[in-house]
Point group: C2
Chain length 744, copies 2
Amino acid sequence: MKNGLYTVVLLILLSVSSIFGQNGNLITSEAQLQEMKTALKSDNLFHATVNDAIEKVAPYLTSGLDVPVPKDLAGGYTHSQHKLNYSIMQKAGMLYQLTGNDTYAHLIKNTLIKYAQLFPTFDRHPATRSYSPGKFFWQCLNDANWLVYTSQAYSSIYEWLDQDTRDLLNQKLFKPYADFLSVQTPQFFNRLHNHSTWANAAVGMIGLVMHDEDLIEKSLFGLPFKNENTIDNDGGSIIKEGQKKAGFLANIDYAFSPDGYYFEGPYYQRYAMYPYLMYALALDRNKKELDIFNYDHQILLKGIETLVQLSNEKGEFFPLNDAQKGMSYFSRELKLAISIAYEYGDANKNGLLSIVEELQSVPLNYGGFLESNAIAQGKVTPYNKRSLLVTDGNKGDKGAIGILRGNRQEYIMKFTQHGMGHGHFDRLSYLMYNKGDEILQDYGAARYVNVNQKDGGGYLKENKTWAKQTVAHNTLVIGDRTQCHAKVDKAEKATPSLYYFDINNANIQIMSAKDSIAYDGVQQQRTLVLIKDDAFENPILLDLFRANLSSDQKLRMPYNYKGQMMYSTFENKSLNTLPLLGQKDGFQFLWKVGEAPSQGKFNQVNWFNNKVFYTLNMATTKEDSINYVLLGANDPKMNLRNDKAFHWLKKGHKGENLFASVLETHGSYSYTTELAPNTYSSIKNVNVLFHSTDYTAVSFENKSGEKWVFVLCNSDASTSSKHKLKLDNETLKWKGVYQLKKLI
Amino acid sequence: MKNGLYTVVLLILLSVSSIFGQNGNLITSEAQLQEMKTALKSDNLFHATVNDAIEKVAPYLTSGLDVPVPKDLAGGYTHSQHKLNYSIMQKAGMLYQLTGNDTYAHLIKNTLIKYAQLFPTFDRHPATRSYSPGKFFWQCLNDANWLVYTSQAYSSIYEWLDQDTRDLLNQKLFKPYADFLSVQTPQFFNRLHNHSTWANAAVGMIGLVMHDEDLIEKSLFGLPFKNENTIDNDGGSIIKEGQKKAGFLANIDYAFSPDGYYFEGPYYQRYAMYPYLMYALALDRNKKELDIFNYDHQILLKGIETLVQLSNEKGEFFPLNDAQKGMSYFSRELKLAISIAYEYGDANKNGLLSIVEELQSVPLNYGGFLESNAIAQGKVTPYNKRSLLVTDGNKGDKGAIGILRGNRQEYIMKFTQHGMGHGHFDRLSYLMYNKGDEILQDYGAARYVNVNQKDGGGYLKENKTWAKQTVAHNTLVIGDRTQCHAKVDKAEKATPSLYYFDINNANIQIMSAKDSIAYDGVQQQRTLVLIKDDAFENPILLDLFRANLSSDQKLRMPYNYKGQMMYSTFENKSLNTLPLLGQKDGFQFLWKVGEAPSQGKFNQVNWFNNKVFYTLNMATTKEDSINYVLLGANDPKMNLRNDKAFHWLKKGHKGENLFASVLETHGSYSYTTELAPNTYSSIKNVNVLFHSTDYTAVSFENKSGEKWVFVLCNSDASTSSKHKLKLDNETLKWKGVYQLKKLI
Ligand SMILES: [Ca+2]
Ligand SMILES: [Ca+2]
Ligand SMILES: [Ca+2]
Ligand SMILES: [Mg+2]
Ligand SMILES: [Mg+2]
Ligand SMILES: [Mg+2]
Ligand SMILES: [Mg+2]
């Protein structure tokens, strides 16, 4: 089927070649431009964007743009100037098209002639730190950026230029530059990697401008393979094992799951989307027949929708894998992506406008114009965040992220592919948000991006030694060791698997996943059930985490909570001179500030965060205990936050073990009235009624005497199978995977 | 002069007695009511307030209000029901006046008759926990609350009632109740204390309703003194040493400084303002001649203005003394206060509307109606927060709070009276905010008000053992001991004194204060200078803290910073097994997580908070060192936040010692662009040029080579004195207290 798709695309390619005229450019048609000009007559967001561009370009209309001989690395003058040049030229191109003022066209022309003169005078950038050294920049990645932007500028003046200048620029600058980025640097062009996506887009976009079908074909399908088997700067091998294809389409196929999830996680997806979408936009304007936005069931549009869904109420992406917290859909990349989703997509169309409205800014393209119009017309609706399963892997068979949403709570369980070098050892962990606040956190990356005093802004060593470790996540730590022995190659070999996901009943949403790779000889399964019932102020979360062990091992369940501890039924003795929790696997960064034995069959931990109370209600045994820990040991440079956690410990026995708990969100606090209703959980016990490899049955009861029994089949996910389970006092019978019964 | 004022008031009192008619009540005139009715014809904030009151009262129009025999303490049924009753009756009274619907009047009448029947049947509330047991409540304070509200309700139906019912209620309920709260409980009525303010207001307000001049006079001037020398629940003595007066006016005189500062601090001022203002409103409506809002140079209106100024950009009161953080001018008490300031005051009138607009709610009174109108007319302007000196003490001679504001920074230095039982040992400490965020914090109170699981919601023992201690504040700790040996009586004996305060030059704002009581044999002075100069992105703070010691003693300057440590020139060795910082004076709660010696004459500590960077630039010697500490030791119940601090240590020598530093606010961070400009301080050194008891001269230089010299006379605050100071290379000459010279 995939091959079929390729063939169709190829046939279409050979038969067409549309051209933008004097009015119109690579990403905008003549007709669209005419429409966009109407916006300039009144106050609106698009007009503000245009005015902003006019202001940014203005100084260079008189001074011109400097085109220095390349010399510096990132941050240096020549690097920054070449970046400035493509940004200014791209804006100038759009302004020429919108205003007809040919001062803009002259600025672009004059600058490009300088580039054409400089280009042939040297081979590559003098710096040699990259696996693919660039031309005007130290690495080809930046050159590809340059060409993606500059292609747009060039297209804007293409018909306006005299034939001689056009020939000069095509022959002395753009064709050689495209060759440079492709055939002359195949280790950069032919990968399945976001670097190559930039390269493919750059070469394809300049190909579209110059009507060079050869470049377009290379951009879409890659180069023939030679011996590119070399290593990139991060130590990744250039060509994937078994890789047979390259180019733009292959990169789409490779990177996205059928649900539009990008294999490295949302933080990197945000970054990677830009070249995919820019080139797609150019292809759509100039190769309509390719129907790129419908490619693979609209995979690119799905990618945008999925990325937006992978954010909390504040628009911040869930910090899975290496991710700096705070990155959000208010970024430049998403501003473009959302304008494209708005123009082409169907899902949540007016909801997207709520993001634009909050940002109060649209991009300088036709989609931005449409958004601006729609907002002026009052079409904004709230964005519909929902429960969903986002599968991973390009066939959708490599695990998933499950999201359950209820009221303003969000529960995100991760059981995806490892995510290569940026992956964390966090199988079956979950994050919890309430009203956009982190309640149970993933630490995120140990990095302050671009903050020089923190190791130059790169990944800190604590990213590997702490942030990636299992204990930094809300999932079971067995034998006080990290999953997969903290080895990426072991983690990449097999993915956790979806067991069951069902959100059809808004009152009982359930997700369950299994893993047998994280720990040798251990079968793990976590089942999260979000239950809505009028008996509770908010939905409650039933968490059943089973571990089948081949030998006795210590079990430690970390809760990386945010907020202030209020009380616990574990009677804590605080340790005044803090011992380390351990020596490795992240434990070396944790002080043990308190520990306490279980008080019996039921225990509670109650904490407070931003005016709301949270209680973990735990089914315990006398053997259980708790550790309170604080992050920050062995950290003389104070690279880590002093975050807290409590760890629920069990003596793990050979065979089946179960952590069963109910997390309740309750109460409120006002700092002005100082009223504090419902500061205690309404749950008074959680009991394990039965547990085996095949079945788990638990009950819980509230203070009004209402009681619930939940039973789950762990080994048969069929919704039609019939089950019977004999308990002490009764026999439960049900059809399908689970049953929740309320007894009053 | 004070005596003169009294006499005038008294003469006026004897000569008048105005009366509200059938339309109009205790706090609203007939004419005002007519105006207010016009608001009910359209959508506006006041109409919304009325609708909200209608909704709240509605259920009781059919059911009536239960008037149970008193039995319970706070939180119990009878307590809550009697509270509900006065709140509903007060609203019903206003609604009767506004709508003319006499169902409201009947509800009040029927309820009051039940009270009149119940009142004579028992003596006092059965609970005996209070120093002044109440009638319907366990303490008189709540009964006074009841009467303040119910007087308003009663006044609303006073003319509507038949003479018999009026006589019944006056004779069987209100007159006896007023006597109960005054002559029968003088230890409650005759204090200089917020309890008595409630009592005075209650008795005076019902006096106004019943036209009982005797009650009004008692309320204003108190009762003759007998032998009330007893002790209240907090262990405070009932009658102040030397107290000669009591009653409402004496309480005003006692509690407010001439600048309108309330001696216990802003958190308690917010609470105390309510009875002052409610009674003042009733007096103004019904005893216009008293001109209460002009009393003592408009002291009550000044109190509101000062209280608003004592808040950060978010409206949260500076958490000085015992104060729960987060209490703000969005509280119910301030909603009333602001409506009164809006009606009567001149200062910042339209600025007050910005607070109302943010709150989107006005109170059910004439001021609320005026606010609602003004907002509908678009009169809102931003509230003008400014630099100011707020003196303490009823003569304004007991120290002060100094506030310097520049851009969005706020620096608050405290050198007030101790503040009795709620005071903290924090002389010469300062707080810093930027954009409303705490940057250098005061811990506030160790308390979760009304959160039962935290010791019933009362003050935690850590409030005394940690929060009040000097180390919990940003001020010098000498010999690792708390100021005044942590003794309230010692601290109450003498107040720090203002040395100099000058905000006339917006580019050099300066405040300086001295203390000689905190530590035996130590003269301390802190001078904070907020300097605006184009060379710096933001104003910078020069801090000169001198201590003259009678013997060698360890000096420790805590910086209770908020945020993430970025780097320090002190090369830290982190301590993995955390020792306690000490055994007492708050040190027992601190772990020492790192320590480092000074690297020479200049050191920096750089941290990051909410997208902004902060650097303390320190003039050091080889003897200096730093401690990094973390809060939370000896705290098994986790009552404390795990806050951080760094402590700058000096070996204090007999004679003069100086901490000289420049705090720079710089740079920014974006989590979406990930750009991080100016993450380093632009200052490259701070030097002490000269220091003696009389003079301090320092210089500092930035990376562009610009240099500043600041010289201060420590012993002569005259602005006309001429000074000459010989340094190594030059002689400085200047007039007045200080000079700042910029050398380029
Ligand atoms: Ca990488
Ligand atoms: Ca890297
Ligand atoms: Ca008290
Ligand atoms: Mg695919
Ligand atoms: Mg992680
Ligand atoms: Mg006074
Ligand atoms: Mg304090």
